[in-house]
Amino acid sequence: MAEIQAGSTTGPRRARPLSPHLQVYKLMLTFVMSGFHRISGAVLYFGMVLIAWWLIAAASGPNAYSYFEWFMGTLIGRLVLFGYTWALLHHMLGGIRHLIWDLGYGFEPTEREFLALATIVGSVSLTLVVWVIGYLAMGGPR
């Protein structure tokens, strides 16, 4: 048993061959989308600071809220919000893809490729749609 042979160089605890790591695999869309899902999740994690800031600013009063509005209106603020919208929609579609797999569907090669492509095409298009609606709701870009 492993417990009694710890430290041995010949027993079960000796250096074992490692499984191949990421860089030996061909870069495929399904693999990239898997990475995007985790990265977008991490981005949304830190982006929750914005949501909390927004709610606290609104609860604090007009001055705090105008400062938040000013920041979101700057070019950097808009870029951050655009990125956040994309990350949110991408993570949502990627999550739906995972739920489809959890139910046992979509494992065939063509289905996997389609789902990966649908995730990225869908998230980019939906982000643009949301922003167009957002600008229309404000009465045009300003």
């Binding site: 417990e3 929750m48 709610l55 739906i96």
Partner: protein, 129 residues
């Protein structure tokens, strides 16, 4: 096979170990992801509806019961989801014991901070003062 463990073979086969649990994070992540779909769509609708409005109007809308309840559900659901998710990322990449402990703690503190700050703000918007 020589017996070197206090655990019986049956206990090992059942597989739960001393933690007595194993898959509840997996399941809770699925539950919060399903709930997160309508809640995130609701958030986008609420944000678009509030774009360009005055502070007074924003307070009135965010504080109205339906919007406030939706936002509270969104916050609690998403924070729990991201708490599990970030823990998963940390245990995948951080292998040094003390650093792992520190980042796991930071994850928990961050999530509770976001949850309590946001919840307080929504309740204050709803109940006034």
């Amino acid at each position: 096979m020589k017996q070197t463990s206090m655990r019986t073979p049956l206990r090992r086969v059942r597989g739960l170990g001393t933690a007595h649990t194993g898959t509840h994070h997996f399941w809770h992540q699925r539950v919060t992801s399903v709930a997160g779909i309508p809640l995130c769509i609701a958030l986008i609708v609420i944000v678009i509806a509030l774009l360009g409005r005055s502070h007074a109007a924003v307070v009135q809308i965010l504080g109205s019961p339906i919007v406030a309840i939706t936002m509270l559900l969104f916050i609690i659901n998403i924070v729990y989801h991201m708490w599990i998710g970030m823990q998963e990322i940390i245990v995948d990449y951080v292998h040094e014991d003390k650093l792992k402990l520190a980042t796991l703690l930071a994850n928990t503190f961050f999530c509770f901070g976001i949850a309590f700050a946001s919840t307080f703000a929504i309740l204050k918007l709803s109940f006034g003062v």
